[in-house]
Symmetry: C2
Subunit: 127 residues, 2 copies
Amino acid sequence: MKNSNQRNLILDIVNNSHNHPTADIVYAIAKDSMPNISLGTVYRNLNLLVELGQIKKIAIYNGQDRFDKTITHHHHLVCIKCGRTFDILLEDKDELCNVIEKSTGHTIITNDLVFKGICKDCKKEER
Amino acid sequence: MKNSNQRNLILDIVNNSHNHPTADIVYAIAKDSMPNISLGTVYRNLNLLVELGQIKKIAIYNGQDRFDKTITHHHHLVCIKCGRTFDILLEDKDELCNVIEKSTGHTIITNDLVFKGICKDCKKEER
DNA sequence: GTATCTGCAAAGAATTTGCAATCCT
DNA sequence: AGGATTGCAAATTCTTTGCAGATAC
């Protein structure tokens, strides 16, 4: 694989974002420092980086895909009020998988789970 | 809300399917008994039925939405070999939610989880 | 040099929507 | 009658892809 400024920039943007940007958010940020970059290139490289295991793709219910710099095992919670995506780290992952595998006979390969709920901040505002 | 043959048919199709049909599968089946029905009507009614709480919508990673007659709490497993979607019933739902709510401070509203894996049948064939 | 990568624009896939005609009640 | 619902087609939204030119090695 050849080096490419576009790909380096895209990886940088995902790695430096503390939320979970969509492809067009990455595109908007990328254009700041590289005005001629195209959306197609952003998609191509995001997918390439996912294949290379350098970032993760998250499928959100009823929405665009999001990209995540954290590649270690974790889940997500999408706030139905503000729409933000939060990381969820679970200790008992293996236990949960084991329970399911035993009761169903299927084998679980990945379980990047997406929960829906109301985040801490939005709960504060409700009062 | 007015009665509509199209909506009755669509609900029937979802209720009588033992897998989790996509909108265009429902459309294909519906055309058998109602050849003039349109895909737009299928989408409109599926979404309406979801809003009414009579069926559920499942968002599959990298795929079309699927619709499910089972509205009680349960999860899904998508087999990466055959592509079928299986129901997963978990006893310890509340425990899992409680763990997450305590450790994060968020409130979980729904957690219709989608696992990826290899189903029982495909595992057999691998041998 | 040449294979990879890019920008562009067009194509694709899934879903939604505007509108005039039709159907319930 | 009159509002809800439909079929149709066009529009949207998100993502992928073909291709000719640019870039990295």
